[in-house]
């Protein structure tokens, strides 16, 4: 063509013509969905403490287990995706989002076999969360240990 914008001009132009999701609307949706998941979690916790005589630690474990179970079932029914489309980070950040990110590849890669399908691909999305999560806790542990041995804490 005769007239050609340079790459920088073109990318700026593209930015202008490309519509974006409304950030305020997304934040409200995320607050509602994330809040609702946390209320359900609190409900499970309270039932565990009040009706099943669990101590705090056990009640916490039951809460996580049941939320993960619900998320995995919703993932299998292809419903968690709809929740995430509406709720965005509100559905992604709680433990249910993590469960979805593990269950989804397991379903998708089942056809490629137990080892090279499910086994290899299960953490394709959650892998970075696990790697950097464990690494960060190791670094924090190291700092804690240094502070302890130098009698600062």
């Amino acid at each position: 063509m005769k007239v050609r914008q340079n790459d920088e001009e073109y990318n700026k132009y593209v930015e202008i013509v490309t519509p974006k999701h409304s950030c305020a609307k997304n934040c409200i949706h995320a607050f509602l969905v994330g809040g609702a998941i946390c209320i359900i979690g609190q409900g499970i916790h309270d039932i565990a403490v009040n009706y099943f005589n669990c101590n705090e630690e056990d009640a916490g474990s039951w809460t996580s287990i049941i939320l993960v179970l619900i998320s995995v079932i919703l993932t299998g029914l292809n419903l968690y995706k709809k929740l995430a489309k509406y709720g965005g980070a509100g559905a992604l950040v709680p433990i249910t989002g993590f469960a979805n990110s593990v269950a989804a590849p397991t379903i998708e890669y089942q056809k490629e076999g137990e080892v090279f399908g499910k086994g290899v691909k299960v953490f394709t999305i959650a892998g970075p969360v696990i790697l950097f999560g464990i690494f960060t806790s190791w670094v924090l542990g190291l700092i804690y240990w240094i502070l302890l041995t130098t009698n600062i804490l």
Binding site: M1, K2, V3, Q5, D7, E8, Y10, N11, Y13, V14, V17, T18, P19, K20, H21, N26, T75, G76, N78, Y80, K81, L83, A84, K85, G88, A91, L92, G97, N100, S101, A103, A104, P105, I107, E108, Y109, K111, T124, I125
Partner: protein
Amino acid sequence: MNTQALGKQTIKFAHPPAIIGAASIVGEMEGQGPLAAYFDQIETDPTFGKESWELGESEMVRRAVQTAISKSGLTKEDIRYIFGGDLLGQLIGTTFGLKDFNIPLFGLYGACSTCGESLSLASMTVAAGYAQNVIAVTSSHYASAEKQFRFPLEYGNQRPLSSTWTVTGSGAFIVSSTNNQPMSNYPHISSITTGKIVDYGVRDSMNMGACMAPAAADLIYQCLEDTQMKPTQFDKIITGDLGKIGSEILIKLLLDNGYDIKKQHMDCGVSIYDNEKQDTHSGGSGCGCCAVTLAGYILHNLANHTWKRILFVPTGALLSTVSFNEGQTIPGIAHGLIIEQL
């Protein structure tokens, strides 16, 4: 020099090959879209009765080729070559769908522009006299494409408004020499313009329309220059899968270069879905998108003389998950064909 070569990138055929048969096989979502009435088969089973998305896509390709052959009144022994391609790695959609036909195959990859690439090569082969009948076929499948390029289907994420929805569909075309038959019965491919790789430095894989619009603009510009034609001489100028955003950019880029195609322009990606109702954001995309739109809607309008001459421009974004993760830009490519009904 061969007089059929025109300008820089165009071939004007002395004996234009005809499209004597076409077939379109689509999935359920396309069957709920505005073009539903034009498709040959709408399959509600996303795996097309097979065990996986990939085998489902292959089955779709097989049905498209089979349907095109039977619709044109030929048998598979009449077909000399197949030019085919899809979006999956190593073309497994195409190869596993075609392996039982026993027809010599050229496997092609031009991302979503493969429909134009396969039709171009098919018409060159026929026009050169190397074959009487050849097939051009392309396909894409929403689920297999998502799995390969993005995320597992059940994973919850939010798609940006600029993203497109990969069409589940396969379109096959029988391209034949018109030496022995009356030309007026069929739409024919009077010229082809082959596109260059055009890179404007866009890196957003969720905005493919913006990656491909410069390639489409470059191709349409070159085609008009080479053939010395004006946009008004076409009933439609039809791009593959630029979507809403890419279409807007294309019209602007061509206007900058002195061509106004606003009245003639149509985009298969915008036409195939009802973006509002079906929530497809910028539109449809994939090798199947323009192939099924051509096989169904466009050829229908040519056959009943609603349109006499169109410029058909499938567009492709040249990326892989590796090139994207390694921070490369996303260049585009487009291939054009002038299809006429006399």
